[in-house]
Symmetry: C2
Subunit: 432 residues, 2 copies
């Protein structure tokens, strides 16, 4: 009943492997959610080693992606070879045969996008490229689809994780560029040859694509002013900090009076701006438009899993279009149920009014302890014999039911005025 589409993946690097992995692992989930099956049929890579073969079920393996496109009757091709050649030829070949294509190839799109966009518009094969910019950040579909009715004025992007990681290390810990690059390499945030990242070319390719989509014009990446981060020293970062700024490798695209200003360079931005808070390997794109106000998308940039996520989303979206299917809202047939309120687990802030007499706090903490609620901080404000003074407490994680029962008991204490106030605390945020 569920329609099945044949998918071929060309290029088994980090993102390619992750895409294969997610296609195989999330097969059922994708069927449930999207109402269509993405059947991995074939892969192509000049070097498919035994580790990679072991991941596969019984997919055909090709050393030449062109052969795969020629011989398999694919519905969808994923191009993750990278670079201009032979990736460009293979995409042409696929689109010409009416095969839909998903690519993450920002260099190719920046340099030769126009030929693919035109081919895709005229022919049978469609082209999607969410993974080309911003990893898991859905910036392409946001500009093309969500903001289709909006005239954008400007785009600011931190769209290269390697350089953002390096600049963050330099700013936070005073590291020199070389030292920070070395650390980025160790953590897997920089490639063996980091030139394209460090010199800003990767960001320039991505900004070319974003500016083309946002402003509807054809731009050559060679015409985009591009400056990398090698000139930035800890001293300059410290100057910036003292002046109230952070330094980011920023992609900028602005439109005014039929002129488009596109560039990539290290930039001082106010410390308090939302973009300045984007640190480490994270990416973000900040958009401005008159109807829109300002808007920002933020998330993990490059990296296998998050980029593969974007590839899968493009595949599903092309598959839905091809089969005319609508995604399911209720796809979970597990026994999933809402958690009853009393079983919620949270940390708490508590404010009591207590008579400032010895033993009152002891009684409060005894009640909390009896309900298995442990205290993180206590602040007793002011001292005033025999008058009510505020006591502020925060707790470690506790069950809501226990907290409610403890509060009930505490409010019965004779030295406690009013009903205690409590507010839940959430700590689970990365990137702080």
């Amino acid at each position: 009943m569920v329609k099945k589409l044949k998918v071929g993946v060309a290029g088994l690097g980090t993102v390619g492997l992750q895409t294969v992995c997610q296609l195989l692992k999330n097969r059922e989930q994708i069927i449930q959610k999207a109402g269509v099956e993405l059947a991995l049929t074939a892969v192509a890579d000049p070097q498919i080693d035994s580790d990679r073969k072991a991941m596969l079920d019984n997919q055909s393996c090709y050393s030449d992606a062109a052969d795969m496109v020629e011989q398999e009757e694919l519905d969808l091709l994923v191009e993750l070879i990278g670079g201009v050649d032979p990736a460009g030829k293979i995409i042409h070949q696929a689109l010409n045969r009416g095969i839909d294509v998903v690519t993450a190839n920002k260099e190719l799109l920046a340099k030769q996008g126009s030929s693919f966009f035109e081919l895709s518009r005229k022919g049978e094969g469609r082209l999607r490229f969410e993974a080309a910019v911003g990893g898991s950040i859905p910036i392409i579909r946001t500009i093309r689809e969500a903001l289709v009715g909006v005239e954008l004025d400007s785009i600011y992007g931190i769209i290269n994780g390697t350089t953002n990681y390096i600049l963050s290390c330099m700013a936070d810990r005073g590291l020199e560029f070389d030292k920070a690059l070395q650390e980025a390499r160790h953590k897997g945030f920089a490639e063996a040859d980091p030139t394209a990242d460090v010199e800003g070319f990767d960001s320039a390719h991505k900004m070319t694509i974003l500016a083309e989509l946002a402003f509807g014009i054809n731009i050559s990446p060679d015409a985009v002013y591009t400056e990398g981060i090698k000139g930035i020293t800890p001293m300059i970062l410290e100057d910036a900090r003292q002046l109230g700024y952070s330094i980011k490798l920023l992609g900028i695209a602005k439109k005014f009076n039929h002129r488009v200003d596109v560039r990539v360079h290290p930039t001082l931005i106010p410390q308090k701006s939302a973009l300045a808070a984007v640190t480490g390997e994270y990416n973000a794109v900040y958009l401005k438009g008159s109807q829109l106000g300002s808007s920002m998308l933020y998330g993990k940039g490059a990296g296998g899993p998050s980029t593969a996520t974007a590839v899968i989303s493009d595949l599903v979206s092309l598959a839905a279009q091809k089969t005319n299917s609508t995604p399911a809202v209720y796809y979970s047939w597990e026994k999933t149920r809402l958690l009853p309120t009393e079983q919620l687990v949270s940390c708490y802030y508590l404010r009591l009014s207590a008579v400032d007499r010895p033993g009152v706090l002891a009684r409060v903490t005894e009640i909390l302890g009896r309900h298995h609620i442990s205290i993180e901080t206590v602040i007793q404000r002011g001292r005033s014999a025999d008058r009510l003074v505020p006591v502020v407490l925060t707790t470690h994680e506790a069950r809501e039911g226990a907290m409610q029962a403890a509060l009930e008991e505490i409010s019965q204490l004779e030295d406690i005025g009013q009903t205690p106030k409590f507010v839940r605390i959430e700590e689970g945020f990365e990137q702080e």
Copy 2:
């Protein structure tokens, strides 16, 4: 050549009027970008006054939306009546007739979504509702489409602009709740009857929808623990601040072990978290998943123009699906050109090494002044007779060409060591 689809808008409140306005104003732009014409054919509202009539061209006006759906041969219906009845009946009627529907009706979707979702999946008419949550933030399509391959663990949302505005006023300026609410009303960020916002019901409806989409289960909004912001006082906000927290009305949805925890309540979150920086009428949704890491979408929440933007995006997307058209990448046929680098305008940070002798700074500033570059700040660090000391300058906006020429001259000065370093400054960020 361009396909034309007939659009009817039911409900001419703030968002309805803005939708009509954007459909009429951006008609050409939508045709260029999307390759399909959205032709506004009819509107329906019990009270269409003369001001509203004046906005229209020659669209038919109905007082009853059901009549419009019955009599016009619509391709697309926009439901912006709000509330459960009669909006629900009209959506049913349209979907049953095979008309695609766009709605912003979070209450209806939270309460009766299941019947519409099923109808839309079975029948001819499709249903889209990007505008129901988060105004201009494309959170619905991000969860349904961009993250279709991702298992989400948790969602945190600041999804009610009214309460976020009120809490921001209270936290920043120590205002009492009533005073802050009054101000929110004055600024148009609170309705005459703010109950649904202030008591958290609006957020609960939105979280119900997000949790349903993210976790694939059917949830009743009545089962969602909901607590508004009336209990929050400036004193509690001050306690929180001293403990290192901000307080936000947070929607929370988490999944673990077949249990889903969905709730809305005031919450202490770390001051340094990205969500804490979301102030005023802005909304944000923070997502976490194992393959995804953390991700955030941020932008203007409610409000006519931004919500209408989301309605238009749904219309375009349904229209593209209906007509099987692909959006154009190069749609701008204006004479738009890239700005040459020397014509860029920016503020600058400059670092010079200068011999600490009287008159050196005067010569530098004279050169800058001659090139029409005005200085904002000068920091001269340390004093050391006849040795090079650093001078840090920031400038007001200046042309890049002028800056380069001035730098050339400055580096020729005999009391200046090395080549001066300069980095561009960007200030144009709201929400700081």
